[in-house]
């Protein structure tokens, strides 16, 4: 019997591997294009229970067991089916554990072992299917129902997922650990399977489902927002088409301007440079350096700075305002030379009836004497007459100067 079962299984798996191409094509397309394949192969696959024909005039499809195997192993997001039939699983746990206990009671150990293995298989199948269901939900959430394009479809998908989550939660409620622990009684193996394993799985699934539920609600909120926005935009466009002259009343004139339309004007302009800040010296120097390079380019284009001919002409003698005064001083010096007599500056001033300020005249005479070269100075002798300042010592007030030849 066992031998036979093994043989059949190997035949089935071999058939799967030999016709992997065909099976994957059917998996992706959904139905089999019978014209493209050998009728013998198809018949064999139907016989093995891999393909089946739902109704007489429909195309061949994959058996759901094979499809589930592929979806589960490939983590295919198209798998939207969630079924965890916990009620029937619990019923089978119950009967199997009773079988087990009965076998033990009668001392049929081999039989009890078989029952225990069977029960283990069932418990693990349940935990695996629960974990798988959660994973399927998560994968759908994580790509935000990417397998449908329109927002409306996404919202529908989200609603489907939410109902599946609440179904799953309702089914999980059926796990009553007090009953399970009663069933397990004092048998260590049973207790481990029915209480510990299931409880761990239960806690994990519940926790993940609550996360899934929160994410689903968040997503549906986002989808609704998207939909609302799209409708807002399109509604506005429609409205403008119907009433092209529509313009909202000026809310800025209201006594209470809504915050949305109260937007202050820009205030800040760039600050100016402070050349007295030593810490900016390096940056400012760089800036100035940049200016130099810039202005050199401009200079090259200035035609007035190109080389030009310069006319060199005799410059006319510069006329000084004090010319007359100087000439008078020179005349005074000449008279001293001509006459050979000593004469004070003020005397000469009165003789010639000059119309300068006497003080300016004396200054000019002194200046004229000092302005002579060392050699010429030695021909003249200049005497000053005056008095000390009555109050401040060291100050000598010159009243007149007398010029004579040495």
């Amino acid at each position: 019997m066992n031998q036979h079962l093994q043989q059949a299984g190997i035949t089935l798996l071999n058939a799967l591997s030999r016709h992997a191409d065909l099976i994957m094509q059917v998996y992706i397309a959904g139905v089999l294009d019978e014209a493209k394949h050998n009728p013998k192969t198809i018949e064999k696959l139907c016989h093995l229970g891999i393909l089946w024909r739902p109704e007489a005039d429909t195309q061949l499809r994959l058996k759901s067991a094979v499809r589930n195997l592929l979806e589960g192993s490939l983590h295919d997001e198209r798998n939207r089916q969630l079924d965890a039939n916990i009620a029937s699983a619990l019923a089978s746990f119950k009967s199997l554990s009773v079988h087990y206990k009965e076998a033990l009671h009668h001392g049929r150990y081999a039989e009890s072992e078989a029952h225990l293995a069977d029960l283990t298989e069932h418990v693990y199948a349940l935990t695996e299917s629960l974990a798988n269901n959660v994973r399927v939900l998560f994968s759908r959430i994580n790509n935000e129902f990417g397998y449908v394009s329109s927002i409306d479809a996404k919202i529908r998908e989200n609603e489907l997922a939410q109902s599946q989550v609440s179904d799953l939660l309702k089914q999980l409620e059926m796990l009553r650990f007090d009953e399970l622990s009663e069933q397990a009684g004092s048998h260590r193996e049973l207790r481990h399977l029915l209480v510990v394993t299931l409880q761990q799985c239960f806690a994990k699934v519940i926790q993940e489902l609550s996360i899934v539920q929160a994410r689903l609600l968040e997503l549906i909120g986002r989808f609704r927002q998207f939909k609302g926005r799209t409708q807002l935009l399109k509604g506005f466009l429609l409205h403008m088409e119907h009433k092209p002259d529509f313009s909202p009343s000026n809310y800025a004139q209201l006594s209470q301007v809504p915050m949305l339309f109260n937007q202050a004007a820009a205030l800040i302009k760039p600050a100016a440079v402070d050349v007295h800040r030593l810490e900016h010296e390096a940056e400012l120097q760089q800036l100035v350096g940049a200016i130099k390079a810039f202005s050199r380019n401009q200079i090259r284009q200035q035609p007035e700075r190109a080389a030009q001919k310069i006319k060199v002409e005799q410059q006319s003698d510069a006329q000084f305002a004090e010319d007359k005064l100087r000439q008078a001083v020179e005349a005074y010096f000449c008279q001293v030379i001509d006459s050979g007599e000593r004469i004070t500056a003020l005397q000469y001033f009165q003789q010639q009836a000059l119309d300068f300020d006497p003080e300016v005249w004396i200054y000019q005479v002194v200046g004229g004497y000092q302005g002579l070269s060392q050699e010429e100075q030695s021909y003249f002798a200049l005497d000053t007459s005056g008095e000390n300042h009555p109050q401040y010592s060291g100050n000598y007030i010159i009243r007149d100067v007398e010029l004579g030849l040495r």
């Binding site: 506005f236 000026n250 949305l260 109260n262 202050a264 205030l267």
Partner: protein, 211 residues
């Protein structure tokens, strides 16, 4: 060194919209409890106050009390906003349709100009639409080429602060929080003027209008 507070203050006073996309640090600073009050007191000195839109996604500076000058400023601003609405809405719908994802442009949406251009070029209806949009005074394109029109539209939107171009070498734009502000404005007008835009759109879809 300028403090974070000073930087945020400067941003607000220069009329920027601070959102998570345009300046995440400043946005986080304003989101942190207590910082808003500090900024507020400094803004108050200049007759400004901290305002936010789109459920705190966007911050900007508003006037604290309104006198004649402020009202004049707001009046001209309002004219701008309303005259910009139509081309912006048309652009948003165009981008949404061209993307084909049925998802409206919102803060953080990345727009790849090259991809968009390919789609618009291949679809005469979109090309016609972008030409119409780019002619609008808001965008002011004079180009006869689709390439130039599209680039001008994106350039203007970046100048106006609706889009951000993180890398100057790439034609990828990211929508900022100002887009959220735009939706808020639309919603506000919808509610205040009792336009029931959503109902209009739904009705049009039911009637099989070509939207």
């Amino acid at each position: 060194m300028i403090t974070e507070q000073g930087r945020v203050l400067e941003l607000l006073l220069s009329g920027c919209f601070v959102c998570q996309v345009s300046d995440e640090e400043a946005w986080r600073f304003l989101k942190t409890a207590g910082n808003g009050d500090k900024i507020e007191s400094q803004l108050n000195v200049l007759n400004r106050t901290l305002a936010s839109a789109a459920d705190g996604e966007v911050f900007f500076a508003a006037y604290q009390s309104l006198y004649d000058n402020e009202r004049k400023q707001l009046g001209s601003q309002f004219q701008d906003i309303t005259s910009h609405l139509m081309p912006l809405v048309e652009w948003l719908i165009l981008v949404q349709q061209a993307n084909g994802s049925d998802v409206p442009v919102s803060q953080g949406t990345a727009l790849r100009l090259n991809e968009l251009q390919t789609i618009i070029e291949d679809t005469p209806a979109f090309a016609e639409q972008i030409e119409k949009i780019s002619r609008n005074r808001l965008f002011g394109s004079t180009s006869t080429q689709l390439d130039g029109q599209l680039k001008q539209v994106f350039k203007r939107l970046t100048e106006l602060g609706y889009l951000l171009r993180p890398n100057a070498e790439k034609q990828i734009y990211i929508a900022t929080g100002k887009i959220e502000y735009l939706y808020d404005v639309l919603k506000f007008i919808d509610e205040t003027e009792a336009l029931s835009l959503t109902a209009q759109a739904e009705q049009a879809v039911q009637q099989g209008s070509l939207l």
